[in-house]
């Protein structure tokens, strides 16, 4: 296997220099962080390296910077003279690293003419590494340092720590590369301010390094004010939450029917969700890992909540002053009357000869009357509800300041309350239909001389007497001839129910979208894509020597889909998997109840 040297393309020295960097894991890979030009004193260099050594290195790897080797720059095509190779020899003895790199460059060229790697053996001698082939990868230091590594197969920093608890498995090399760079960030930081300079002078400011220089955080008064305001805001928020918290963790909610009711009400779930988020946002930050390595969950949460509230405020400013709410409340009784009228017409039509079908008129009449009575019941129920809908909408609408998602979930609840009759119709019809289908299937078995063995869960053959067979066949015929009537009622009410569920699914999808959209990450990806790295790509450059392959390594930004998949915020309420169409049809045909598919689970649908 060829050894690898990652070399920053901005650091190609004009004169001979020493390479600073670190080794990546147990592989033969070397990451060059900076070059240091002559002259220097070894003690200064050592103290400088000790001062910039990363403090919180991950336990599975040592990324402390060390002197990796030397880069000789020759002015012409001449072979290096003895004197400089002698210097190299003495240098490797002084710094005494595990390995020693010797890169030779021609002035003005970007690719090395030779690159030798020596390894220290047990006696302290440096031997040339056996396959002399080297892959020399040029990388853009600015991009590589400012980027966050989020490749598909690389998990988060913390989980990586856990998974490498067994030492045999190392994380992938690219993960090591980016972790090493972010651990050694201190090298790239701008030189300290004037006050610290005196202190620094004693340690090693005389070391002359060549690398990409971070311009440092921008001095902006807004940022400073924001930083200063951050803590008081967090404290006020935490205090406020402490006031509200008893409402959510009250023991009253554990009494028997209440948890079940709470789970059914999407408004309650959404309120819970908002509360959880606020708690996460206002809780004190846990600083465990370098911030560049943790996904910006908090920022995403804050942004999505702000967006939610903004949409809610827009909606309020549109609805309240123009009196849309009052108009809607006034229109509700008229609307329900119209719906009831249509339903009654539909039932009358079903009781006659719908679409020319000749149904069992007695059964159709009975069923029709039964459902007509239900419509009557529903009308009185709605007329009881209507006076309360207006105030509930008016005051509940104010909740939209907390987020438009809350308003939408309230809308879902109101729809399911107002369409109780559709649900009832559907359940009655489905139960009736299911009863008939089950009876038909078991009588069909009797017809064939078989029966269902409950103990063994299989169909056994069975001897029936003549009476049993006669009665069974008679019942089978009756059920079969009554089936079309029931099936028609069932079909119509299933369609009504599916329409209501479809509307609710659209609403809950919207809520899921508002809750989950990682606005901050998305904007970050769209505005400065190279901040999130999804992968690398290599390009083969010219070959200057037989044993060296020059490649340039570029960072690929994470694709927008990958950003969405990775940063999608979990949602408490409305996650729904659209049902499998064949499964849905099978459920409907067998007469089982179609469950509303907008509850339970979390994450990216």
């Amino acid at each position: 296997m060829a050894a690898k040297v990652y070399f920053p393309s901005c650091c190609l020295p004009a004169q001979s220099a020493v390479l600073l960097g670190c080794k990546l894991g147990r592989r033969d890979s070397f990451l060059v962080l900076a070059t240091m030009s002559f002259p220097f004193t070894p003690n200064r260099v050592k103290s400088f390296l000790a001062s910039v050594a990363p403090r919180d290195t991950p336990p599975w790897c040592d990324f402390r910077p060390e002197v990796l080797g030397i880069c000789n720059v020759s002015a012409d095509w001449r072979v290096l003279d003895d004197e400089s190779s002698l210097t190299a020899h003495s240098l490797c003895k002084i710094f005494n690293g595990e390995a020693w790199l010797e890169v030779e460059l021609h002035a003005g060229s970007t690719s090395p003419s030779s690159c030798n790697i020596y390894r220290r053996d047990t006696n302290g001698h440096y031997n040339l590494r056996s396959p002399r082939t080297v892959v020399f990868a040029h990388y853009n230091q600015r991009e590589a340092v400012t980027v966050r590594w989020l490749a598909e197969d690389s998990s988060d920093f913390t989980s990586m720590e856990e998974q490498t608890a067994d030492v045999t498995k190392e994380p992938s090399e690219m993960a090591l590369f980016f972790t090493a760079l972010s651990c050694n960030e201190q090298i790239f930081l701008p030189p300290p301010c004037e006050d610290d300079l005196e202190e620094k002078q004693s340690t090693g400011s005389s070391v002359c390094l060549r690398h990409w220089q971070d311009a440092g955080p921008e001095g902006s008064i807004v940022v400073e004010l924001g930083k200063a305001a951050c803590r008081p805001i967090r404290r006020v928020g935490a205090w406020f939450l402490a006031l509200v918290a008893p409402l959510f963790i009250c023991r009253l909610w554990t009494i028997a029917p209440l948890p079940w009711i709470g789970d059914c009400l999407s408004t309650w779930l959404q309120l819970h969700h908002q509360h959880d988020r606020l708690r996460v946002v206002f809780s004190p930050p846990v600083v465990k890992v370098p911030p560049r390595l943790t996904p910006p969950r908090c920022a995403d949460m804050i942004c999505s909540m702000l967006l939610d509230s903004l949409l809610g405020l827009l909606l309020i400013s549109h609805i309240y002053p123009h009196g849309h709410l009052e108009a809607a409340t006034d229109a509700l009784p008229v609307f329900t009357q119209a719906v009831a009228g249509h339903l009654q017409e539909l039932l009358q039509w079903l009781m006659g000869a719908p679409a020319g079908l000749k149904l069992n008129s007695t059964l159709a009449c009975t069923l029709g009357r039964f459902f007509l009575y239900h419509i009557h019941l529903w009308l009185s129920y709605v007329s009881m509800l209507v006076p309360y809908v207006g105030p509930v909408l008016w005051y509940g609408g104010l909740l939209a300041t907390l987020g438009v998602s809350l308003l939408l979930s309230m809308l879902i609840d109101i729809t399911s309350l107002l369409t109780v009759h559709v649900y009832c119709f559907y359940v009655y019809a489905a139960r009736l239909y299911r009863l008939q289908v089950c009876g038909l299937s078991s009588l069909w078995r009797l017809f064939r001389g078989k029966k269902w063995n409950v103990l063994r869960h299989r169909v056994d053959s069975c001897q029936y007497d003549v009476d049993q067979l006669f009665l069974g066949t008679l019942l089978f015929t009756i059920l079969l001839f009554l089936l079309p009537t029931t099936a028609l009622f069932y079909l119509v009410f299933t369609l009504l129910r599916l329409m209501v569920i479809g509307g609710q699914v659209v609403l809950s999808r919207t809520i899921w979208l508002i809750n989950g959209l990682p606005v901050f990450s998305l904007v970050q990806r769209l505005l400065c894509g190279y901040n999130l790295a999804g992968g690398v790509e290599f390009e083969v450059l010219t070959q200057t020597s037989k044993s060296i392959l020059n490649v340039s390594m570029q960072i690929q930004p994470l694709s927008v889909w990958a950003v969405l998949r990775r940063f999608w915020l979990p949602s408490r309420v409305m996650v729904h998997r659209s049902p499998n169409p064949t499964q849905l049809v099978a459920t409907i045909l067998s007469g089982e109840l179609v469950q509303p598919w907008y509850r339970g689970g979390s994450g990216w649908g």
């Binding site: 001698h125 031997n127 082939t133 690398v536 392959l549």
Partner: protein
């Protein structure tokens, strides 16, 4: 080897010095029309030294080229002939000749406008996401395998697989519609658990024949599995 630089290599060299190849490509990808005209012209003079003409399993012409670097890396590229401008023009003209009389007869100029917009969008989608211009596999010793697909608009999709997870590169036999075809694929190992994580097919759009695949297979295996010859020398003299 190093002394003779072809035009393309010199271009690479220049880009390395600036470090801006990708950025330029990305800009190109955002202007698909301009990019597509670029490749249209490039399609004509696709012939490079070392390129050979091949045929895909459907009988379409392909240009096969190889870039080899002394047992350290190997890159195989399969290019299909570029999109011809005349076929695009014919397509648009055909749609216009059909919709123009219809819209004049129905007195709905919006119909013509929407047809135009739909055709333009369709061409954009076709050039940007569907029509594949080049496909290549690059194997770098000890580093990894890179699969890239370049579309007619100049957009390139690149997927790099590190050597730790590359189990092997093999030729597989598969059934596609009513034919048995051969395809090259990269086996990706699952590092956490033992076993395969994915099988990534290469040259999915070009679908070359077995003779071409054999060449690519041998070249890749050479890089993947041979150790360079060993020579030792000691620094301390």
């Amino acid at each position: 080897m190093g002394a003779v630089l072809t035009g393309r290599e010199r271009n690479y060299h220049y880009n390395c010095a600036l470090g801006s190849t990708r950025a330029a490509n990305r800009q190109l990808a955002w202007t698909p029309i301009l990019g597509s005209f670029g490749t249209l012209r490039r399609g004509r003079r696709m012939e490079e030294p070392g390129a050979t003409r091949m045929a895909s399993c459907r009988g379409d012409p392909l240009v096969f080229s190889e870039r080899k670097q002394h047992g350290l890396s190997i890159e195989y590229t399969l290019s299909s002939p570029g999109v011809s401008l005349s076929s695009l023009l014919c397509c648009t003209l055909a749609v216009w000749t059909v919709t123009y009389p219809v819209s004049t007869y129905a007195q709905a100029p919006a119909l013509l406008a929407s047809a135009t917009v739909i055709v333009m969008l369709g061409i954009l989608v076709y050039l940007h996401w569907i029509r594949v211009q080049h496909e290549s596999i690059l194997v770098i010793s000890g580093t990894g395998v890179q699969l890239s697909t370049c579309f007619a608009s100049g957009r390139c999709d690149t997927h790099f697989i590190e050597m730790d997870v590359v189990q092997d590169i093999v030729i597989n036999e598969g059934i596609h519609r009513q034919a048995v075809i051969y395809y090259l694929c990269v086996l990706v190992r699952n590092n956490q658990k033992n076993g395969l994580k994915a099988i990534l097919p290469v040259f999915l759009a070009a679908r070359p024949r077995l003779d071409c695949l054999r060449k690519v297979y041998r070249g890749c295996q050479e890089i993947l599995h041979t150790e360079p010859n060993i020579s030792t020398c000691v620094m301390d003299r």
